[in-house]
Amino acid sequence: GDGGDPASTGDSLNLTADCLHYDPTAGVTTDTIKLGTSLPLTGALAIPGTFHFGLEAYLATVNAEGGVNGRKIELTVLDDGYDPAKTATNVNELVNRDKVFGIVGILGTATALAVQQDLQDNCVPNLFIQTGAPVVADPAQTWSQIQFPTYSLEAQALAQRAINAGVKSVSIISQNDAFGKAYVDALVSPLKDAGVTVGTQVTYDPGAPSVETQITQLAADGADAVFIAALGTKCPQILNGIKSSRWNPLLLSVNFCTSRGLLGLLEDGAGDDMIGTTWYKSPTDPQFAQDGALAAYREALAKYSPAADPDEDFVLDGWLVGQLLVDVLKSAETLDRASVMRAAHEANLHVDTMLDGVRFAAAGTTEPIGQVQLRRYDSASKTFLFIDPKSGDDLPAGKTSLIIRGTNPSADVREPSASGAPRPSDGKP
């Protein structure tokens, strides 16, 4: 069949105009909606890949309660081992063989890029891509949508913290790929604008066994702060290395370094006071120990994905994506691809696993989540404490102080409207 979508109703967005092929209701039957995803279940990025456990658990919960408008959601999960060619094969199979309605939660930048255009051409929804790389958030790609706050936002938030802390120089260690580069690009100019020297910049190969040479180079420079854009065990290696080099910079790290599993690998005292960001309720954060949303999450996970580690941030993220997805599907006018995609573009959602004040607000932007919270790692208690972006002081438990995209970050810090009293997560603003 070919494009026979009812022209978009008064919306500026004409989704189906350029479809090479448009099958509006593929994968939808009277009682099911088929969705698919491709992510690394094996290989070096298998931990982020555990994302799917949370997603599956949420969908199972919803299905048990009757599904979305009476339809159960079936999710097919394929392993791509973070190989873009494999992602392409998987997605091709999902769309052409399994006839899924849409793709949800492709994980990673290169993997997403490998399938983005194809899904665009065939007008298949490509929702909640698990990346924050600005390059994926391309306005021309109307059939896809990223989910993470962009890496630039995260980098700018950390840059802001460095500036507010009064550092004179910042060194950078980053992974030698798009992921690392996205952060570095976003970091450098705000720092320079604020008169902070950007010192030694080093990169490492994710496969290399050690990063000692890089640490030695950074330590020789001895900057006041260091920005760490790393993944996996490179994070503790870097932090341990910095500690034993007897250099004592302000540590600024990307969100991916701050999972509890990785921090558990640190040597005593390493990583102390490291600043990171977050935007959802980390399952290991003691201030959310009694949180109702997390309790529901843990309960469902134990029931539907017992193999998963409930303390893993990526698993919670999967759950969170499940919440967003169901909301989007429910808010779609009809269950056809264009309507769902349109609903995703119009979404303005807050779900209970997000921090207060964080919203998935897609209207008019390709970067739906625009808020992050800074936090500090306390190595003695092995926990994170939310901090005030300006002063760097710890915030009282339950309180957030978000950094919001789009405005000069140094000025634009606002107290969230509510704390402790989550707003209902509804589909319409």
Partner: protein, 292 residues
């Protein structure tokens, strides 16, 4: 000063490459095969060591037990899987790729995805002289490797069985004629290599690497390169090859402006091509005999 510290870092890197390289050399010396799965075997051994320390064993005894278990597993795999495939040239290579994939999968299945640290074999901390830091663990690992090479060299060069291993690796047919039990030697050779893999895996954890299923993926490539530089049959060559790569890589990436750490592999490629062009058999390797 910076250069000296980078040198020490390079030696550390080299020790990582050398650890696995030693196991590769032993397997080659006794069976004539390059075992592509050696790295994954070492990973499994390291995982086993972690599991054993989890049971309350000290790290040294755990290593000893893991090495013994690895010996048995290596020998068993040789008998059951590798031996039947030895006859045709490329088949063993792919068999070993199969082993690689399986071993990696077993690691993921049994150990899970979460990296884990292993308690050090050597005291924490290190020496500082003139501002240069040297970790005790690096010194310890290098001493451990020195012991291993000495033992291996004595074994291969001085003992009758060692001579038998060399014979079997280079000329299995002639070995049979001379009454050397070729199959058993291959089996033992793989066992020893696997046991050394356990030592390699645990050495790595002492050099800052965490135990996880892909800990050896890249190390294997570097170790193979180290073995190539040193010569496939020389334990000393493995160490020297590893050290050359580690040190040159560290100095080049640390001191040459514009060359950053992520292109270490290119530096290694250049080194090995240059070395092999002048000595095609590797620094400590012997050329194969060919005459008509």
């Amino acid at each position: 000063m910076l250069a000296l510290q980078l040198l020490v870092d390079g030696v550390g890197k080299g020790a990582i490459y050398a650890a696995l390289a030693l196991a590769i050399v032993v397997a080659h010396r006794s069976t004539g095969l390059i075992n592509f799965a050696q790295g994954e075997f070492a990973t499994l051994s390291a995982m086993l060591t972690v599991a054993l320390t989890g049971l309350g064993l000290g790290v040294w005894p755990a290593l000893a037990v893991a090495a013994a278990a690895s010996f048995a597993a290596g020998a068993l795999i040789q008998v059951v899987i590798v031996r039947p495939a030895m006859r045709r040239d490329l088949v063993p290579v792919v068999i070993m790729i199969g082993l690689y994939v399986c071993a990696n999968a077993i690691g993921q299945l049994t150990f899970g995805q979460n990296p884990r640290p292993l308690e050090g074999l050597f005291p924490a901390g290190g020496l500082v002289f003139g501002g240069i830091r040297v970790q005790w663990s690096l010194i310890g690992v290098i001493l451990l490797q020195a012991v291993v090479i000495t033992a291996l060299t004595l074994f291969f060069v001085r003992t009758k069985i060692g001579l038998g291993f060399r014979a079997v690796a280079t000329a299995p047919e002639a070995s049979r004629v001379a009454g050397i039990p070729v199959e058993r030697m291959h089996m033992i050779g793989w066992g020893i290599a696997a046991a050394l893999g356990a030592v390699a895996g645990v050495s790595l954890t002492n050099l800052g690497v965490y135990v996880e299923s892909h800990m050896m993926t890249t190390v294997l490539v570097y170790s193979l390169a180290a073995v190539t530089i040193g010569g496939f049959d020389s334990a000393l060559g493995a160490i020297v090859g590893g050290a050359i790569m580690g040190v040159v890589e560290s100095l080049v990436t640390g001191l040459v402006p514009g060359v950053s750490g992520d292109v270490g592999i290119l530096v290694s490629l250049t080194i090995i091509v240059l070395i092999l062009l002048s000595r095609p058999q590797g620094l400590f390797g012997r050329e194969r005999v060919a005459r008509v």
